[in-house]
Structure formats: C-alpha cells, structure tokens
C-alpha cells in the first residue's frame, strides 16, 4: 500500500490548514456561503438534509488497518459511531459539524487520509478494481497508476474549475470490476501488438440524467504518455465542455454533441500540439518507487485446495453458504479474496459501525496482511487471505456482524442514501432496499436465484448506479409521493449496458412484491439453473419480466 512521503504529508497538512482558514472565514461572515460552497465541496463537505456531511477520499478503495481505525475514531468522536461506504469507494460521515471539520481533517491526515476533491467540479477520487493485485485475470495491478493519477490530479491548477465533476476509473485489464465504461474517463491496462503494457482510454461514459456508455478514444497509449494524454482530454473538456446548463456539462454530452470522431480529433490535435515544456514528466524511477508500494505480499507456497477449509465447510452449513457467495478466486494458489458484505438484512446498504470498522481492521491485520478494499458495490474486501484461515476469518466476521452470505446476490443491494439523508433526493432508497431484502431473505430462495445485481438511486443523479443494475430502481417524486421506476438489463462490467425503464413507476410498498413476481418469472423461464438472471433477460428480452412486474395492477 502506498505510504505518504514528506511531500504528500506536507500537502495534506497544508490543505487541512487552508480549509481551516476557509471555515473560519465562512463562520466569521467574511466568506459568503455562495463563495464558500465550491470550496467546501472540493473538500468533500456537503450540506445534507440533517447536517453537514463529510466525504472522505479512499483513493482506489485502498484501506489498511490504521486508516480504518482512524475512520472509526472519527465516527466515534465527531459522528454517530458509523459511516457509509459509497459506490465511489469513499466513506461518508453524516453528522459532522462544520466547526469540527478542520479537526477531523487533521485526524485524517494523521492516518494518511484526506477529503480532497471528493466533490466539486474537479477531478474526483480515482476508483479501481477492489480485487486489484489479487485477481488472476488482470494484465497488471492498476493501483500504482491510480496513485500516480491521484497525485497528478490533486490541486491541478488548470482543472479545478471544470464545467462539471470528473471521474476517472482504472481497471487492470481482466474482467471490468471498476465500471470503467460508465466513467468520464475509463482506463484499461492492456498490451499492444508488441506486447507492451499501456492503456486503452475510454471517454464520455456516465450515469445521471443522460446515461452513456463511454467510447474508446485511444486503443492504446503508452504509460509514459498517459498523463500527458489525460491533460489533453482534460483541456479539451475544460475549454469546450458546456457551461450554460449544468445538466449538459458533463464530458459525455460534449462527446455526444461533437460526435466521437470530432471529439477524438480534438484530443489528438491537442495531444500532438503539446511541446516539451507542456508534457507531464514522470521519471521512471518515480514510477518504480510508487509501484514498489504495491508489490504483492510474499505468498506462502500452498496447495490450491485446503482440506481444512473443505472439512470445515462440510461441518458448518453457514460457513459453506457464505464461502460459496463471498469468496473470490485469487491469483496465488491456496489464497482467496473475501467479499465482506455490508448488506445485512435491514441495515442501510454500505453502512458500517465504528466497532465493525475496528473488527475489520483487526481481522485484516491478523489474516490479510492489513489489506482492505472498498468495493463500488459498497462492500469491503479482504484481499489476500489463506484458504486455511477462512474458517477463522468467518468466525471473526460473524462475531462482528459482518458475515452476511450474499456477495453478488439480490440482497447485496447497491443503494444511495436517498431521501433519508440526501438533500437532492426525490425518494427514499434505504427503506426500499430493506423491503426487497426482506422479500428475499430466505437463503434457499436466494441460492436458487444466483447472481443478480440490484441497484437503487433516490434520484436521477444515479449515485446508486441504477442504470447499470441487472435490475435498477429509481426513486421519483410524483406530487409529493414516492414512486419507483424499475429498469431492466443494465450491467457495469466489460459488456456495460444501460438498463431500460420498464414502464410507469410503482409505489414504495409495491416494489418488493413486484420484484418477487419478476424473479419467479425468471426462475420459471430460465433454460437451466446455470442461466443467470441477466443472461435470461438478454435471451428473452424485457417483455416477460415487464409483464410479471405489472401483473398485479
């Protein structure tokens, strides 16, 4: 894991001091709220329904025990003993006072963290695959490049007042677990025909009001040229992105209005015009230095299967079921990655208490080399765990209430905070998620259903990624009443697709029963138990599912 050197440390400290001054000027009346707002946003401070909210950056979802304990301490001291992990791999605290913010930033800095650029019209926290460095299918670990991009984009003087927010995601080249095609820029590590590793550059994806799957602007760019190429894209966007209408200001609209070809030629022209003074120079030794932090741990030579684990699974049905849903393959034989679900029945998806954070930190330190990730599914990941240790990890997770056996299943719901917290919401998300979880709480039923991604957003801003759920749910407001539109067929992986709205919205209480009918329909229509929901949907089209959705009305 990357560790700050004196430069990083110094900047984060100076930034905390700078924000302290801004808060003081706001509270003394010197700085009007209108001018303070963009400043606080660039530091992750929102004003939500009940209170200020602080969004803390977890660059590319990477945590360790020390950081997670630091977050737990903040939750205890300044918040209500919990935090909320988001679809952008960050964490949000819901109840922090503005006057406490500077102190919180100091405490974050103590554990190598910050809230820089977690909101506002700037380059946001870069996201990645939570299994990076462990996945067997990756071309290369994307995290060093995430860190390089984090540094390059931090306080970038030219790109701090973009037309709109800007999100970059990097994937390691295997399965896309970072949803790169629905980001403003998605990068995918890949080899060119000479076998050299570089990046495919995808641009113009995004969700929100007008969802788009991104287009490839460059099949391949070399590592040394990456940052300069990113600068070219950013400059084209900064100069030409629309500023007259915030709903049309994202880069996806620019790409779409100009057309893919014109946009690409603007970027290529800009890139070609850069002179030597303009190129971003990244010394090779510096890349090596950063890469070294992400070197894989020394894995013990272990057999690919663990008789201990197999035996324990045979004896413990709960462990067996959890292992079936929450273990993920690992590149090293004898190891596994573990998805730690933050979606127990009846809780807010993505919430973790401070006690759970500390428990995770302890478990990670003991069994996983301290490596913890946040997944965009709002779950946590223990990246490198020996198969031998899985029974012990399971027991420890159970004690902490973190052993929900639903990884990737219908109750592992992605849901934004919605109207229970969010100032922009039209409808609640959490309570809908909870009603769906309750409807599918029978483990045998859930096992039978198999993988199914269900995503919920409380408004069109789509923080809950509803467009890319196999089933998506969008809260809307109809004359003061909450309604929910259902979408079918979205996906966030390398075959990214935007879900289609099935029809008129349903009432809050009708959503769970309607989805039960949809799932029953799937179970009766699937060609075999191996055919997943999304596969069946793609084979059969929306019609039978839509029909089931509205069957009662």
């Amino acid at each position: 894991m990357y560790r700050y050197d004196e430069f990083d440390e110094n900047l984060v400290r100076q930034r905390a001091r700078q924000f302290r001054g801004q808060v003081e000027r706001r509270l003394s009346g010197e700085l009007p709220e209108e001018h303070f707002k963009p400043l606080r946003l660039q530091n992750g401070v929102y004003l939500q329904l009940h209170a200020y909210m602080l969004r803390v950056a977890i660059p590319y979802g990477q945590l360790d025990g020390r950081k997670l304990r630091g977050l737990a301490d903040i939750a205890d001291r300044y918040d209500k003993r919990y935090g909320h992990f988001t679809t952008r791999q960050n964490i949000q605290f819901n109840w922090i006072r503005l006057e406490d913010m500077p102190e919180v930033l100091d405490r974050l800095a103590d554990v190598g963290m910050h809230a820089i650029q977690t909101s506002g019209n700037c380059i946001r926290n870069v996201t990645s695959d939570p299994f990076a460095g462990a996945a067997a299918d990756e071309v290369e670990d994307p995290r060093p490049w995430c860190e390089i991009i984090r540094q390059w984009s931090t306080f970038h003087p030219e790109f701090s007042h973009l037309p709109r927010k800007f999100k970059i995601a990097v994937s390691g080249g295997g399965h896309d677990r970072a949803a790169i095609r629905v980001h403003d820029i998605g990068l995918d590590l890949r080899r060119n025909s000479d076998g050299e590793i570089g990046f495919e550059v995808v641009c113009g994806g995004g969700l929100g009001r007008t969802p788009h799957v991104g287009v490839t602007v460059r099949d391949w760019i070399s590592k040394p040229e990456l940052l300069s190429y990113l600068e070219a894209i950013m400059r084209v966007y900064n100069r030409h992105g629309r500023r007259d209408n915030k709903y049309k200001a994202r880069i996806k609209i620019l790409v779409n209005e100009l057309g893919e070809a014109t946009f690409r030629s603007l970027v290529e022209e800009e890139f070609a015009a850069q002179n030597e003074r303009e190129k971003v120079i990244l010394p090779l030794a510096e890349v090596d230095r950063i890469e070294a932090y992400f070197a894989p741990p020394a894995f013990d030579a272990a057999p690919a299967a663990s008789p201990t684990l197999d035996e324990a699974r045979r004896l413990n049905g709960d462990l067996d079921r959890w292992a079936r849903h929450n273990l993920r393959s690992h590149k090293a034989p004898g190891y596994t990655s573990i998805l730690v679900s933050l979606k127990p029945l009846g809780a807010a998806p993505g919430d973790a208490t401070s006690d759970q954070m500390r428990a995770m930190a302890d478990i990670a330190d003991r069994f996983a080399g301290g490596d913890i990730r946040v997944a965009h599914e709002q779950d946590l990941v223990l990246t490198h765990v020996r198969l031998e240790d899985v029974p012990a990890v399971f027991a420890a997770l159970q004690t902490a209430g973190l052993a929900t056996a639903n990884g990737g299943m219908i109750t592992d719901i992605i849901a934004c905070p919605g109207l229970d917290y969010c100032n922009l919401a039209n409808a609640r998300s959490i309570s809908v998620a909870n009603s769906i979880q309750a409807a599918f709480s029978d483990p045998d039923l859930e096992d039978m259903i198999g993988p199914l991604h269900l995503n919920i957003s409380g408004c069109i801003n789509a923080c809950g990624h509803h467009h890319v759920g196999h089933i998506g749910i969008l809260g809307v407001d109809k004359k003061g009443e909450e309604f929910y539109q259902v979408l079918f067929g979205g996906r966030a992986d390398e075959r990214a697709a935007i879900g289609e709205i099935a029809g008129p919205g349903l009432k809050h209480e009708d959503i769970a029963p309607a989805l039960k009918r949809v799932v029953q329909r799937y179970l009766s229509l699937r060609s075999s138990p191996e055919e997943t929901f999304i596969d069946a949907l793609e084979r059969l089209g929306q019609a039978p599912f839509r029909e089931a959705l509205y069957a009662a009305s």
Binding site: Q14, R15, Q18, P163, I281, L282, P283, E286
Partner: protein, 170 residues
C-alpha cells in the same frame, strides 16, 4: 479596484474599449480579440504595446503569431467558477511562449489566486482592503505541487528524483 502585479499594488492607466482602438494610442486602451484581429489585418496595424482582453471562449491561438506586438493580455473570469481562463493562461505561457503581463480580471476571489498564479497570471485585479497581504497569504498556502504548470514550481514527481533525466520516463 487594486491591480496587483507580482503581488504588489500597482497601477495601469489603460482603459478597456469594446469598440476597437478608435483614435487612441495602442498604449492607452485594451481591446477585444476581435478588434485586435481586425487591426492586424488593416494596413496601419499597431505593432507595439498593444493590450488585448480575452473572453473565456476566445481561442488564444489566434494571438499566437502576433505576441510580439502585445504587452498585456487580460483574461476575463465572468464568474470565478468558469475555469476556461486557466487553460487560456497555460496555453499562452507554455505553448505560445508569451512572457509579458498576463492579467486576470472579472470575478477574481482570494481562493482562486493561487490557481491563477500557477497558471501563469502575474497580475490580477483583486478587490480587498489588504490586497497585497491577502494575496501573499493565498499564494503561500500550498508550498509544493504535484504537477508542473506555468509558474516556476518543479513538480513533486521531479523533486523526488533530483537526478532524473529531464527527458523523464521516455
């Protein structure tokens, strides 16, 4: 409103004219890009000490071949959240090699001053009773930078590797 050059209160007697040079001497006015370009194509074009004000949507490339004639470029920030002026400044400084006064005007606020300086502005029209003091404080808040820009800061990437060849990674 105070004009700061390199952080010091200074003065400038030019006035902005949106109707071109008229009878004024080049050194008395600041003209729009349009007027400047019209003047260039006229036979008696002004060759010296010209000042131009760019709007955010203006393309600084149109000035690139005539920078010898220009001694002041103002870049307008109609709203402080409109970040196009930063790109204009970087282009003028780093791509087109403009070395004379580059001045930010419009909604110039304290918390953008350091971005402006890094982007190549050596002058700002900035309203504050203690403009010099506030400027100095604002541009001194962050002592290092990850990325090179149009100021003289060396990027942290390079500062970590003082011996690295300037050719960088390539």
């Amino acid at each position: 409103m105070p004009l700061l050059r390199h952080g010091r209160v200074s003065s400038c007697s030019r006035i902005f004219s949106d109707s071109g040079f008229g009878d004024a001497a080049a050194s008395d006015v600041i003209v729009t890009l349009r007027s400047f370009l019209d003047d260039r194509s006229s036979t008696a074009s002004r060759r010296d000490d010209v000042a131009v004000r760019l709007r955010p949507e203006d393309d600084p490339r149109l000035l690139a071949n005539d920078l010898d004639a220009v001694s002041l470029i103002e870049v307008e920030f109609p709203k402080y959240t409109d970040g196009r002026g930063y790109s204009i400044a970087q282009l003028l400084r780093r791509r087109y090699g403009y070395t004379r006064e580059l001045r930010a005007v419009g909604q110039v606020l304290r918390d953008q001053l350091s971005l402006m300086r890094r982007s190549g502005f050596d002058a700002v029209v900035f309203d504050h009773p203690d403009a010099e003091g506030v400027y100095a404080e604002a541009v001194g808040e962050l002592s290092s930078a990850y990325q090179g820009a149009a100021d003289d800061a060396v990027s942290i990437f390079l500062r970590r590797r003082p011996g690295a060849s300037p050719g960088g990674l390539t």
